[in-house]
Symmetry: C2
């Protein structure tokens, strides 16, 4: 039986002032005499008063809440983003509404719309929602995208190049001359982006890069590709993500194909568990909790901006800010001499 919370009227009655005075004293201290301020604070403590953020939000339009949509909380990348976002939010007394694992782009959009009225802004991490819908949504509610670039909407994306370049250079040193890329799903912006950078970095370092056909980014797929990989004549495989890489690595191990002696394997994302394998999986990852925090800060700026109308620094146009995060190559046992 939850007991009713105390309101500013209860305090007002106890202290003998008007409710509006209580509100002033409690929201932005300094607008009220030191004496009443003290008495009000004492009364608040005595009654165990806590501001009703919902009632406040009706008036102010601010619930101090942000929405965060992630495709899959079981994948380390999104755990990091959530962690970074939640931490950054808590620092400024915001809380985070999480939506996870949606069946379709439509389900994602439904969720975003469902929470729209209950949040001050939304962070969309690698959503499947089409560009146009996101832009539309961003027009209604401050929005930041993560892991995806989208003209007109501010975004936080990893800068894939540094990590890839480091990995490729190291591979060249180890004598690799031909590498095979295993992509993710064909429509993935991120998969394409990784391939482009990989090819370019390979050319620079004197490594020829070839690509397998696109497909699901799962362990199962990695395992299924084992034959093709061995027949490819490549000494190095770089997979779109760690799951594929781990699936391949385990399959080879089950067949007693030595890694990295016969084949070197490198993944992407540095997921938790990528170093549970033996040999431990070499991988290219970005500090994604940094990304989560950065996304929150960009969103907050937008939220502030949307009040001082006209003062906002950016208009969400094509030049919308984008924050790049350098990826890092984690050299581990699954990469060895060619």
């Amino acid at each position: 039986m939850p007991k009713p919370q105390a309101t500013i009227y209860d305090i007002a009655a106890l202290v003998g002032v008007n409710a509006s005075t209580v509100s002033r004293a409690l929201s932005r201290p300094g607008r009220v005499s030191a004496a009443t301020q003290r008495r009000i604070e004492d009364a608040a403590r005595e009654l165990d008063y806590h501001v009703n953020t919902v009632a406040r939000a009706v008036k102010t339009g601010r619930l101090q809440t942000i929405g965060l949509l992630v495709p899959d909380i079981a994948y380390a990348v999104y755990q990091d983003i959530l962690r970074g976002a939640e931490r950054a939010a808590r620092e400024v007394d915001y809380v985070v509404l999480v939506g996870e694992e949606f069946r379709s782009a439509q389900a994602e959009l439904d969720w975003a719309r469902r929470v729209r009225a209950a949040v001050d802004g939304v962070i969309l991490a690698s959503p499947r929602i089409p560009d146009a819908r996101i832009r539309e949504f961003a027009g209604d509610k401050p929005t930041v995208v993560v892991n995806r670039v989208l003209n007109g909407v501010p975004s936080v994306v990893p800068d894939v190049a540094p990590g890839v370049r480091a990995a490729v250079v190291r591979a060249a040193e180890l004598g690799h001359r031909r590498l095979l890329y295993i992509p993710g799903v064909g429509s993935s912006w991120m998969s394409r982006s990784r391939w482009d950078i990989l090819e370019a970095a390979g050319a620079e370092a004197g490594i020829e890069a070839v690509s397998a056909p696109p497909g699901m980014p799962s362990r199962r797929r990695g395992a299924e590709l084992a034959d093709d990989v061995l027949a490819s004549g490549c000494s190095l495989v770089i997979a779109f993500n760690d799951l594929i890489a781990i699936g391949l690595l385990q399959e080879l191990q089950d067949r007693s194909v030595p890694v990295p002696e016969r084949l070197s394997i490198v993944g992407f994302d540095n997921i938790r568990g990528s170093d549970f394998t033996s040999p431990r999986l070499a991988t290219i990852g970005a500090p994604l909790n940094e990304a989560g925090g950065q996304a929150v800060r960009m969103l907050l700026a937008r939220i502030e901006g949307s009040t001082d109308r006209g003062t906002a620094a950016d208009d969400g146009g094509p030049g919308a800010p984008s924050y790049g995060l350098a990826t890092v190559f984690h050299e581990r046992g699954s990469l060895g001499p060619a």
Copy 2:
């Protein structure tokens, strides 16, 4: 520049009825004539109307939001709980506020208090908050605890026995006669609980169980215990969680101590990545997303109950409902003959 959302007044104006009629039509259809119902729905669609849940909540006291506190979203157990909870919540049009990775019990309690006014109820998953504080909080706000039993507060806990018994029986079949348990932190209710069951199941199956001293449940700790484990004269180690088990397994591997030939290892929790190791880690886990969903359903019942005052089925007393979830033993390569 977010544009203002349409309100029921906009619809009312467009259709030419009173706002209250719109409210009736949109909240619980049937209280209004079929004709106006249609016109109102059309207008709503045209104006892209979405109910302002915040404004509604001021009146009804229901935000259709629940709070979920987890210690660590990087750990698979809590991912499962979050997933199950979010899914169950979404089914009934609720959304989930997540708090994660708190520095201290105090920080956890602060978070719970912070969200109190913005949620209809709270799920606390293995919180560090002391019993008394949880009970206090549960008096103010519908609350369900997960992974912990606490007189007076409804809870969802895994039933450790079935999984442990299955593992121990199998171990006995494989010839093991002495097993070493590596506990978690001394104050952990869950660690103690696992040990108690383990000891009992061992006695039944003719396996003597001994325990190492308590400590951090980390990979590092597992690695550090390698010497003690090898010197213990046990042929089987059961660790409080998978991280410890994986740390130990990897350390042994680095030393070329064969697993499971020289030593069998079993973990707890069946975390994602527990089968990335080689050999794959045998482990005892519970269907925790089931737990998340169940917690939501119990919470919802409580939330409903707290309105029909006096009608509530349970009083939160010592007999508060508790839902047990059977654990399962996942037999994998790290368990072999003694």
